[in-house]
Amino acid sequence: MNVKKKFKGLSDKAVGWLFIGPTVLLLLAINIYPLIYAIKMSFTNFYANKIGRVPEFVGLKNYIKVLNKEAIWEKMQVTASFMFWTLLLQAVIGLGLALLLNRKFKGNELLTTLIVLPMMLSPAVVGVFWTYLYNPQVGLFNYVINFFHDFGSFDMIGSSVLAPWSIVIVDTWMWTPFTMLICLAGLRSVPNYLYEAAEVDRANKWQQFLYITLPSVLPFLLLALLFRGIENFKMFDMVVELTSGGPGSATELASISLKREAFEKWKTGYSSAFAVILFVTIFGFGNVYVKVMNKIKER
């Protein structure tokens, strides 16, 4: 009775807070606090494995060190190149597949299921089995390529020229279905009367695609690319299993480098600064991207 009375006295706002309170607390505990802690650590020379050693405040030293390190910039370049090619290929192939599957034909549903399958696999598993597919002696990949044109024996993972492409191919194979599904949702939301009106105006298929389909599907495609961009910026498991970041550092993405600095070399302060820089980078790019996307939507 007392409890009932108490709740009766609460305003709508208070009840609202009561509902979202636990979530906010959880968010603060597992997201915001670690972020603030990492920022704090980034200004120290803390090593998590050196038990008993008191961390000292070093100011911006870690940030300067990260930004001046040539190897870090090399890894950022590898990450940028990986993102550029995977997003480009996934956008083009994903949209193409969506256009294909938007038509009605026999076996459409079965084909959609088959195309979507890679996306459902674990990235670590994908990394492992592609190492076998890429094996220059017994791998299916080399066999298929040589079936069309005899390139002889080539090592996708062991060559510094081919290894970056090996991870782009696997990521594209795995995640193009995601882009395709989002584009397909966009295509199915385009009302038919637009095409009918275009036909009345004697617009050809190319013009219909350029002035109706593409503008309608573009916001969906951009959203899919935003998700894929964020995911690929922090790509780790698949690449570690496939190439371990090698040969040399040809496929060492920023996230792999960060893990090595933080949990293998245990340079906690330094790697916190590195993590903050990566966070600001992706957060900044993400914000700009969303603003551009909103402008496109408004058109």
Binding site: G158, G248, S249
Partner: protein
């Protein structure tokens, strides 16, 4: 009726709870090691310990690529999962300095366990910190060094022998130095034997953990590389990147380019074994720990020969192997120490060798029958007299990773020069030693 059912359920629940608590009270310890052949031998051997003492030993074996990550994280987090740990030789520094391992001196004195009963090289490498001191943090458990296995059956073929002699002017056999090793490996590269294309050698090229470093140092030690100025610790300039060290790294790249099978760009223990067992290669570089398995599995005409790391300017081999330590955070240190006491017994050490483990006990190694007890026993003895190890500093992981990256970049990726790679490693190492207060 319902009450009776409820009563039965309550009794069952009580009985199962009681049996669970009785079980959890049973004496047991957990031992952590890498997942490989010797671990299975130890599991077999340990059955006798359980029979003698009633102490159950649970094992957690972690695959090599994740071994260091898993175990070092456990120690850094003061985990209680393991009571005993067979950790890599390079961990002894961090185990001692950061207090992960129990110091065993008092225990050894009390139980009459003398380190003089164990091979000096293994005591130095696996047990002591600071190096060479009389502070013991482990009992030498598994002696090991990097060595070579070769296809003796191919070497014995008259047509191949005469062709090789004609080409190189000396007999095809165990290589006396690295130049001969290269001659022999390249002799088999791309050669068709019994209708199958074969290759020269499966060597270490793995990048993620320690593989390529363990491989390239086998060459660097043989060329006479030193990590630092013997009179000025941590002074590496002109030692680690000396002309002979550079030559050794260049040679290792040549060996990789001329003799490795296709796709062997990220290979270590298991990949080398696979390449050898599948008949792809004439030679494989690997640890002695694997030779009992290789020798036992010789079939379909395959006959394996084994030899210690060839010398070049000096005789030297890369040290492997581990000591067994008691984890400081364990609640069952007394039981763990009881295991070490049992394991140190000469009769147990003999059984350890018989089962495929590499004992470091002098009674086993000095036995007149030891050199002929297996085809690789003499090689093991030879190797243990010439072993050299990577840094055993508490910061060894920080020291290992830049070397892995720079050497892989040069040897496998073909980027830059050997001198450039070694200079880059020194630069990173100086940074690590400075942060650690050593420089």
């Amino acid at each position: 009726m319902r009450g009776k059912k409820m009563k039965k359920i309550m009794i069952l629940l009580f009985v199962s709870l009681f049996s669970f608590s009785a079980n959890s009270n049973a004496k047991s310890i957990t031992l952590g090691w890498a997942a490989w052949d010797p671990a299975n031998a130890l599991q077999e051997l340990t059955k006798e310990f359980t029979a003698e003492t009633g102490i159950e030993v649970n094992f957690e074996f972690v695959p090599w690529p994740n071994f260091a990550d898993r175990m070092l994280n456990e120690l850094n987090n003061k985990g209680k999962t393991f009571d005993l740990l067979i950790g890599d030789s390079q961990w002894i520094g961090s185990g001692a300095v950061y207090g992960h391992y129990v110091k065993l001196n008092d225990f050894f004195d009390k139980e009459g366990i003398s380190m003089n009963d164990f091979s000096p090289a293994t005591v130095y490498a696996y047990s002591t910190w600071p190096k060479g001191s009389k502070n013991y943090y482990a009992l030498p458990a598994m002696g090991d060094a990097l060595a070579w296995a070769y296809r003796k059956d191919w070497f014995d073929r008259p047509e191949l022998k005469s062709e090789f002699k004609k080409k190189h002017g000396y007999d095809l056999g165990v290589p006396a130095n690295w130049n001969q090793l290269h001659d022999m490996c390249s002799f088999f590269q791309g050669r068709e034997i019994d209708g199958q294309k074969r290759y020269g050698a499966a060597i270490n090229t793995e990048r993620g953990s320690e593989g390529i470093t363990m491989g390239v140092t086998a060459a660097m030690y043989a060329w006479g590389m030193e990590y630092e100025n013997p009179n000025k610790p941590y002074d590496m300039e002109g030692y680690f990147n000396s002309p002979k060290a550079v030559e050794a790294v260049e040679f290792y790249r040549k060996l990789y380019e001329d003799c490795a099978p296709p796709g062997h760009s990220d290979a270590y223990m298991v990949a080398n074994l696979d390449a050898y067992k599948s008949g792809q290669v004439a030679f494989q570089m690997n640890w002695y720990a694997f030779w009992p398995g290789v020798s036992k599995e010789d079939k379909d005409g395959r006959v394996s020969g084994f030899f210690a790391n060839p010398k070049q300017n000096v005789a030297a081999a890369t040290l492997g192997g581990q000591g067994i330590s008691v984890v400081k955070y364990s609640d069952k240190q007394d039981l763990a120490l009881e295991y070490i006491k049992w394991f140190a017994r000469p009769d147990v050490q003999q059984k350890w060798w018989d089962l495929g483990g590499y004992s470091c006990h002098n009674d086993v190694l000095d036995s007149p029958s030891f050199p002929t007890s297996t085809v690789y026993a003499q090689g093991f003895l030879d190797s243990m007299g010439i072993v050299k190890d990577f840094w055993q500093e508490p910061t060894f992981v920080e020291l290992m990773l830049p070397m892995q990256e720079a050497i892989h970049d040069y040897v496998v990726n073909g980027k830059g020069t050997a001198k450039g790679a070694l200079d880059k490693i020194i630069e990173e190492w100086v940074e690590v030693f400075e942060a650690d207060g050593k420089l």
